[in-house]
Symmetry: C2
Subunit: 210 residues, 2 copies
């Protein structure tokens, strides 16, 4: 996407908005000299991004050693159809955070992070579920990564064609894209007559301006 | 996501299906000893994935030197709501491809790759647009990465709770998610009375089984 018009956005508010809308980040780290990129859930609290997973996870154990990582979140907002093949592009918003992640080991701080995960993914869910017990907390590793070194890239707007191509009778414009929820599927063992919570039935993520 | 039940899928057909449904990949490489993860468009043709961009792009010039990369594509298919906070998860399909990318320099081979990009993003588009001219072909770098070293991870299915939690009156199940198109936005300078092509009006990506 980098050959197309983009603008760098270094404003913290824009970075936070992208992180808060995304669901999955891609974490890059170096293992035995080679790059590894793994998708994982995350949540932002203030000026930090949290990762979590099994304390036995190879990735988390590697990251918790304090190696350098790059955490990238990308929202695809639309496909940009130009009159020429060359000027096709995508509208997107992306954040990259560089740094080292450190373990959050204190139980109360871990709980704050786990609540943030839950509320980031499904706002309203946390108070409905059985909270983590001591065993589960111990089995869960939480890592924190500061946003100090982070940047955003955003492309919005219509295609930008060569002037000569604007006379073309080829349709041009944007196909807006958005991650949308469809009707929730109840687990087979849900108690009978249990209503679908409003935060599930009305679930949505943000939709971008083009 | 790695602490939850997943199954490794190494079947080439499953890998190809995930690559063909995704729009954006995350490319990881090592720059000055530190990992960098950048989102970019891609397309698969046979047993290769192609990347492209400006011949002046710093990322592409770095990659074209034959450094090791990890290219990861992730589709988020749903949020998995368990009765306990601990067993929440996501349904997803992800592919990681490891290897070195090499430049495609011959013009005809480049054109094949660029057509594949176009048809991967918007099937039906290629024959409607002005094809790349010599200058544009020269300004575009195309890289090919073999699928030889690739693997998939997939999580599907309902939440898996602790047996004791199934008596809970907490709703549990899946919120299915899918990247969906909304109504296309015509560019302001589109010729008057030009119809929206069917491949735009009916645009959709796949929807996953849960």
């Amino acid at each position: 996407m980098r050959r197309y018009p983009t603008r760098g956005v270094y404003d913290r508010k824009a970075i936070e908005a992208i992180l808060d809308e995304g669901l999955v980040c891609h974490v890059g780290f170096v293992h035995d000299g080679a790059p590894v990129v793994i998708p994982t859930l995350y949540a932002r609290v203030g000026d930090r991004v949290y990762l979590h997973g099994s304390a036995a996870s190879r990735m988390l154990r590697t990251l918790s050693g304090g190696c350098e990582i790059c955490l990238t979140v990308t929202l695809v907002d639309g496909l940009v159809l130009a009159r020429s093949a060359f000027h096709h592009s995508a509208n997107y918003r992306s954040v990259a955070v560089f740094g080292r992640a450190y373990p959050v080991s204190e139980s109360d701080a871990k709980l704050v992070a786990l609540e943030a995960f839950s509320e980031h993914l499904v706002p309203g869910r946390w108070t409905d579920v059985r909270p983590p017990n001591e065993r589960e907390l111990k089995a869960t590793m939480v890592l924190a990564l500061a946003l100090d070194e982070s940047s955003a890239k955003i492309r919005t707007g219509p295609p930008v064609d060569d002037e000569a191509d604007y006379n073309s009778d080829t349709w041009a414009g944007i196909i807006p894209l958005c991650l949308r929820a469809s009707e929730a599927l109840a687990d087979e063992r849900v108690q009978p007559d249990l209503a679908v919570p409003a935060y599930v039935a009305n679930y949505e993520r943000g939709a971008a301006e083009q």
